[in-house]
Amino acid sequence: MSLRHLLRAEWTKLRSVNRWVLALAAAAVFTVAFSILASSGGSTDRQPNVAVGPGGKPVADDFHFVHRTLTGDGSIVVRVADQQNSHPQAMAGVMIKNGVTRGSSYVSIAVTPGGSVRMMADFRDVEKRAGTAPRWLRLTRTGAHIATYDSVDGSSWREIGEVDLAALPATAEIGMYVSSPGEIRLERSAGTTSVGERLTTGRATFAEVRVQGSAGSSWTSDDLIQPGLERKGRPGPSGTTEAAGTFILTGTGDIGLNEPPDDTVQIGLFGTLAGLLVLVPLAVVFVTSEYRRGMIRTTFAAAPARTPVLVAKAVVMGGVTFVIGLAAALVSFFVTQPILRAHGFGPPMFPAPSLAEPRVLRAVIGAAVFLTLLSLLGVGAGAVTRRGAPAIAAVITLTLVPMFVGSVVPAAAARTLMLVTPAGGFAMQRAKPATDWLVEPWAMIGPWAGLAVLGTYAAVALLAGGWLMRRRDV
């Protein structure tokens, strides 16, 4: 028989068994229902203290700022004489900002103890070069055009970067700032996981401060801080002391995009877990039932080459799973997003995801691919064992158990587990980058790593199944 006929034969076998068709429908329904259940149980406390940046994105905007008003064109030059190493990404530098409201437009240049000169505009990096304090920094404004420079001696300058910032009004605040991010600690031990942040306070000395242009006469000192941060207890106070034109600033916090690791797209696709509990047994039984009923002898008599039979079974089962999985994933996505919003996963911290975003589309298709690869793994495992029970038990436990175990073991062990078991495939459903910040262990590896792990499992199982099918008697 040609492959086309084999495909038709396998498709007929699949659609003509009532309970299998019922199982396929159940898989779709379970996927959507479980996604809704997972979304309804969610809650988040990451919301209240967030600032909103110019693009509507959640940002961190916490630092100590000593500033004067600058109208029109002008510049600031300082020498960062000394910077304490409070955190590798702590910043000491100069900034021009639209007022002192958190989240407003700005351009900045700063040195870090980590050894870089960093220029930022509106919460994104513009340029990064090597360099540490002591160092001269300069920022000039010409209309909407802002350029930054650094120098080791104050006479020969190197341009770091330039940017046009139309959002900056004619009158803005210009001055010096110090920031120092918190140290994140994720403690995973057998039994518990806790996430904690230890705040740090940065400290830097600024000398030979010169502002050119029509600037206000006096310096104002402001602490931009997340409301409620005071309660957590900072290691040292923020503030400014000035003596003979030399400023010492201390400040706490970080500046930059502040996207939470929680992935609403992934939570809304979590129901694939229920779908796989139906699809994997179905895929296994699609192969093993032929052995049980002796039907396999007829099948092999009709197709003596045998390998095309397994190919046809894999194509039919995989294709059907992909279509059902994609439909279920799309429905889950659209149904769960409003539910998640109602449970606190809303803007600005969680902007509404749209299928037009490549990463969201990738996650939704990833859910369908995840189910497809698992069902191919089921077909392969069924061909290897020729009996339903061991194949089902093996695939399902290897997929689910590492999820639970990975959420309670140390991080390194959890990552390894995700990279060596089919459970890593769950990572395909994440729209956000890999993170160590969540309890869910599959969030620790990226979607492509997840695809590689599960794809390898499916491929090896199919190859082994095909090889054994040729080699063994029925």
């Binding site: 149980g41 296994v284 436990t397 999820m403 073991v409």
Partner: protein, 255 residues
């Protein structure tokens, strides 16, 4: 007695049985030893008071071994439906409750056969591993660690019986096994993403797996969503419900 003997011969001669028993033993010992090896005293802030639940960690093979216990329970009856042997069995022993009781006894014995030595071996093996990794364990065997070890064996038996009950209801190997695996693993998976405290706790209190595995806890019992014995009681209730429903279906339906 003849019923038990007949069931024993049937179960013992299934080609899968020796593999399942060896697998159960290997998973209990192997996974437990591996898990024990991941703990290092150096990673604790205070090695003398680490807060690790040593007994529970060394018994963590249960996460996987329970799947094999479930397969054992399913195959004991599901295979007879697959091969239609069941018609011979019910013809030979018209008292169907006796068949089911015989199967339950045999399944329980088969599970205990690898479970008891497995738990003993891994408990003995874990102590030198912990010592090697720098922990100073108290010398005496405590009541709590006995409860964890004995409870693990009971848990495996209860899961196998749960699987038997479900199979009497579903009467198909693949279908029954899927139902049992869903019962065991779906709720704890949901608990991973459900962060609402009330629902999170409720899921863990009523799920046969998370409630039942509370029996392994030896430290920090107050933080558990459910106490050890009450937790195992929840699993026992699921098992009893499955066995009763299975028995009723087995007795009143045509084979």
């Amino acid at each position: 007695m003849n019923v038990v003997r007949a069931e024993w011969i049937k179960a013992r001669t299934l080609p899968s049985t020796p593999w399942l028993l060896m697998g159960l033993l290997a998973l209990t010992v192997g996974i437990g030893a591996l898990a024990a090896g991941t703990l290092h005293a150096g990673e604790c802030a205070d090695p003398a008071n680490c807060g690790e639940d040593f007994a529970k960690v060394s018994l963590s093979g249960l996460w996987l071994s329970q799947a094999l216990a479930a397969v054992l329970g399913v195959l004991a009856l599901g295979n007879e439906y697959g091969t239609r042997m069941i018609t011979v069995t019910v013809a030979a022993v018209p008292g169907r409750m006796r068949i089911l009781a015989g199967k339950a006894g045999v399944v329980l014995a088969l599970v205990l056969l690898p479970a008891v030595p497995g738990v003993l071996v891994v408990s003995a093996l874990a102590r030198p591993i912990y010592a090697h990794n720098g922990f100073a364990l108290p010398g005496a065997i405590t009541g709590a660690s006995l409860r964890a070890a004995g409870g693990t064996v009971l848990y495996l038996g209860l899961v196998a019986l749960l699987a038997l009950g479900v199979t009497a209801l579903v009467r198909d190997t693949a279908g029954s096994l899927s139902v049992v695996l869903v019962l065991l693993y779906a709720t704890p998976a949901l608990a991973l993403v459900v962060s609402h405290p009330t629902w999170h706790d409720r899921l863990q209190e009523f799920s046969p797996l998370t409630a039942g595995m509370a029996i392994q806890a030896t430290t920090n019992l107050d933080a558990l969503p459910i106490g050890p014995w009450r937790g195992l009681g929840v699993l026992a209730a699921w098992t009893a419900a499955a066995l009763i429903a299975g028995a009723v279906s087995f007795v009143i339906r045509d084979a």
